[in-house]
């Protein structure tokens, strides 16, 4: 059946089984491969996207559940990679292999929306679901604080990126 929702600001209609996880609809049907598969059971966070502005694990979110909603993926977080978090990630050279990093950034972006000045504990509880086998956690914390500081000082890019209109 046809399911219509917004992806990174553009309306999309997919003719797929409504039980299909959003993850595979994004990756295999829409070719948005920035959102990653890691566990398929809400245990690693690699598939984190925003649904109506909130962090969701797309591996356990059915396409049918996002009908009429706004989905933002890493590709739509900012028009040009200029989100404060993306810039902080580059500044602190956070990624190693990089595979989990879209999920880390999407979880962090949702956290900053809710808590513009998060503590380490806030970061730990919001990003607890996001596994990183390479071990970038120390830099993830640093970069989130750094992005939060920049946003507080009125940086050029808002936490709400281009896709979250």
């Amino acid at each position: 059946m046809a399911i219509t929702f917004t992806v990174n600001g553009a309306e999309r209609t997919l003719d797929v089984d409504e039980r299909m996880p959003l993850l595979w609809a994004l990756r295999d049907v829409l070719s948005l491969t920035g959102t990653k598969y890691g566990c398929g059971m809400n245990r690693c966070g690699a598939c984190t996207v925003h649904v109506d502005g909130e962090a969701r694990r797309s591996c356990v979110t059915r396409v049918g559940q996002v009908a009429g909603k706004e989905v933002v993926t890493i590709e739509g977080l900012s028009p040009d990679g200029g989100h404060a978090l993306q810039r902080a990630w580059i500044e602190h050279n956070v990624p190693q292999c990089g595979y989990c990093q879209a999920g880390q950034i999407m979880s962090a972006a949702a956290l900053l929306q809710e808590k513009p000045q998060p503590t380490d504990d806030d970061i730990d509880s919001a990003l607890r679901v996001n596994l990183c086998r390479c071990g970038t956690y120390q830099r993830v914390r640093l970069a989130i604080h750094s992005a939060a500081d920049e946003l507080r000082r009125g940086g050029v890019s808002s936490a709400a990126g281009g896709g979250e209109r």
Binding site: L30, T33, G34, R43, C44, G76, I90, Q96, R133
Partner: protein, 738 residues
């Protein structure tokens, strides 16, 4: 080689739009030979100048650096580009970094053993320098001036006196006519702009935008998606199955049986389901009803442990003997013994295994996250019955590797499916459960260590018996004994100055596939040695750091096999990192009640690492608070990468020290995903401080692996200080909870 054969990435201008599936579109850096359109073929200009397989300047002026080692987060692509660009006199922003296909012309491409920088530190600079000398000579000839009057900078040759300049692209065709200098002059270290500098990894801008392409992200027109239900046992095969329920699932196109290939790294058999999306393939697979012949499979973890204990408490094969341990024991004032145990471990890279294969017209083209693309190419050719030249092996980014992606079993599976569907690209995706259950495991092991002390607390004898299933069993069936290369990882080279040393080993057969996992046998050898050193220090009534420094004694150069020249094992360098880590950590300073300070050090992959770790137990949970780490890896290319690798090593080491355990019953792995094979999470992350030693004239050594081995021992030693109990089994959280 055709330009279309390259997998290219990084430089946005070189990207090609391949997938037409969506307006949002996946921007791909891949050019499948078989699928290349005229428009695509026009994009990459032919090389005008290619003085080596690593450097190429195109007719349109594009500068390409070929990186021939795989990137799995360890920074190989960046470090190798730094080495080439340093001598070529270009900035990293000016170049297109091309990931080389698997091809013998690049020399060794096997990305394991922490060797990428070590083996290429000089050759890649020479490749860059040779190209630069030829470009400068060509420009000088054009101007009729001496090459010595010209200098190269940022891709341009300048004639200082006249102010004239020519870009590399403008002189590339002339340079191509010159002979490649055999001994180009390398820049002195004092003039390095890139080597030794902390640069961000070249792939980070793509990664943070979701544009980086891993094996699982390759999309080709007309591609179908596959998954495989594999035999639950390594020796098993399909007895019978009914494809009908799977074929009834919407989107499923084909169901086929795969025979096991024992000769190819024990590649498993099973039933593949091919569909028009990954989820449909998973659904089809779930619907399959398969009857298995499990073959010879009886391994049980508890029994395996008992067998190991029996082995190490008896006599093994002696592989190093100095002095007379029995005599030392007979005359000892005091003796001590302990047995340490570690379980099987799985790799769990965040990207589960995935590969894309296309078979058509007697050729096979593969895109895969592979650590060893040349061996993968040869094995695909063997399985498909093709000459090696008919197989193209493109290397994508690896979403973690840790040794698992050195085994191309998943590529062989994709190639088999693609062969049955000629002309259709097939993407094979492993689920997390597949990855955890069908690995090449770090083997379950036991270490029995005993030592003798004289009346003054001086160690007079050390006996160590190690037992584990050998990696060689995966390559050659029936091999059971630990191999020299395995014993050489952290045990044979025991550096302590002790009069009597007796080292023994025993083998044990496992039903599982055994492989190398980051740091390999160093993980358990370092754990036992460093925990036992802590126990011995206490028995001798000494501080463990001081005690270890005394055991190492005056600096010596040890020369064991495996320490390839110009390397050796300089015990003085190990002592220095121990002193540095202790100083950073303010070792000996009292800690808050309930917190323990543990210490460990280890030499591996030719580097020296020491670590101090603060830990406590709070409400039954182990908390690691702070880690101080010192590393001496000799000369280095990117200090920020080294710091990142030490942070990552702490996380990797803590994951298995706290939680990592694969258990087996009836030859079948019991765990399947992150709920029962947990990895360290951000709320368990300690603060990590790293001190990197200057080169001090030493050649570059390993970085990706040497940080891991001290971690578990430092933690176990810290827990002893915190709780007063010795925990000799891993994983530790389970021991605390028991």
């Amino acid at each position: 080689m055709s330009r279309q054969d390259t997998v290219r990435k990084v430089s946005r201008r070189a990207f090609l739009q391949v997938s037409g599936a969506s307006a949002a579109g996946l921007v791909l850096g891949f050019r499948p030979t078989a699928l290349v359109s005229p428009a695509m073929a026009a994009t990459g200009a032919a090389p005008a100048f290619a003085p080596s397989v690593f450097v190429e300047i195109a007719t349109d002026g594009a500068i390409r650096l070929y990186v021939h080692r795989s990137e799995m987060g360890q920074g190989a692509r960046t470090a190798m580009a730094q080495l080439l660009a340093e001598e070529l006199e270009v900035t990293l922003g000016q170049v297109e970094i091309v990931q080389a296909d698997g091809d013998k012309k690049y020399g060794d491409q096997n990305t394991d053993g922490s060797r990428s920088v070590r083996q290429n530190f000089v050759p890649l600079r020479q490749a860059g320098a040779a190209a630069r000398e030829m470009l400068v000579a060509s420009a000088a000839a054009r101007w009729g001036v001496g090459a010595g009057e010209c200098r190269a900078q940022d891709g341009v040759v300048h004639h200082q006196a006249s102010g004239r300049k020519l870009s590399y692209g403008e002189v590339a065709a002339d340079a191509a006519k010159l002979e490649v200098p055999s001994e180009p002059k390398l820049k002195p270290e004092s003039e390095w702009r890139l080597v030794g500098k902390p640069l961000g990894l070249v792939d980070v801008p793509d990664i943070v935008q979701g544009k980086a392409i891993y094996g699982t992200d390759v999309m080709l027109p007309g591609m179908l998606f596959a998954t495989i239900e594999r035999s639950p046992t390594v020796a098993g095969k399909v007895k019978s199955f009914d494809p009908a329920p799977a074929l009834a699932v919407r989107g499923v196109k084909k169901v086929l049986q795969l025979e096991p290939i024992p000769a190819q790294l024990k590649t498993l058999g099973g039933v593949a389901v091919v569909a028009d999306n990954t989820w449909a393939a998973f659904e089809g697979r779930d619907a399959l009803e398969i009857e298995w012949d499990r073959g010879d499979a009886s391994e049980n973890s508890e029994q395996f442990r008992q067998q190991l204990e029996t082995l190490v408490n008896g006599d093994g094969k002696v592989f190093r003997q100095e002095g007379d341990y029995a005599a030392a024991k007979g005359s000892a004032a005091k003796s001590l013994s302990a047995t340490y145990h570690g379980p099987h471990l799985a790799h769990a890279p965040m990207e589960p295994l995935a590969a894309v294969a296309l078979v058509q017209d007697g050729k096979c083209e593969v895109w895969a996250p592979i650590q060893d693309p040349q061996s993968a190419r040869g094995r695909v050719a063997a399985v498909l019955g093709l000459p090696e030249e008919a197989v193209t092996m493109h290397v994508t980014l690896l979403g973690g590797g840790f040794g698992r992606k050195s085994k191309p079993d998943f590529i062989l599976e994709a190639a088999q499916i693609a062969k049955s569907m000629e002309g259709t690209p097939i993407k094979l995706t492993w689920t997390r459960e597949d990855e955890i259950r069908h690995g090449y495991y770090r083997g379950q092991n036991a270490q029995h260590v005993e030592a003798t002390l004289d009346a003054g607390g001086k160690v007079t004898g050390w006996r160590h018996h190690t037992a584990f299933p050998t990696i060689a069993s995966t390559f050659a069936p029936g091999v059971k004994d630990p191999q020299g290369f395995e014993l050489g990882m952290g045990l044979h080279n025991l550096p302590y100055r002790i009069p009597s040393i007796q080292l023994e080993s025993s083998g044990i057969a496992s039903d599982l596939r055994i492989g190398w996992l980051r740091s390999v046998c160093n993980t358990f050898h370092a754990h036992a040695i460093q925990c036992f050193t802590d126990e011995l220090a206490e028995a001798a009534g000494k501080d463990p750091v001081q005690f270890q420094l005394e055991l190492l004694g005056e600096p010596r150069k040890l020369d064991f096999s495996g320490h390839d020249k110009p390397y050796g094992f300089d015990t003085g360098r190990l002592s220095k990192v121990i002193e540095a880590a202790a100083e950073m950590a303010e070792w000996g300073k009292p800690l808050p009640q309930g917190m323990g300070h543990g210490f460990a050090a280890h030499f591996s992959f030719l580097s020296y690492v020491a670590m101090a770790m603060k830990a406590s137990v709070e409400e039954g949970q182990i908390r690691v608070h702070e880690v101080h780490c010192a590393i001496d890896c000799g000369a280095y290319v990117n200090p920020d990468t080294i710091e990142a690798q030490m942070e990552g090593a702490v996380v990797f080491g803590l994951s298995y020290a706290l939680h990592g355990e694969i258990t087996v019953d009836g030859g079948v792995v019991k765990q399947g995903n992150f709920h029962d094979y947990p990895l360290l999470r951000i709320d368990e992350m300690p603060v990590v401080h790293v001190k990197l030693f200057p080169a001090n004239g030493n050649p570059p050594a390993g970085v990706g692996e040497p940080g891991v081995p001290p971690v578990s021992a430092a933690l176990a030693n810290a827990l002893y200080k915190a709780t007063g109990k010795r925990y000799r089994d891993l994983p530790l959280q389970k021991q605390i909870s028991a």
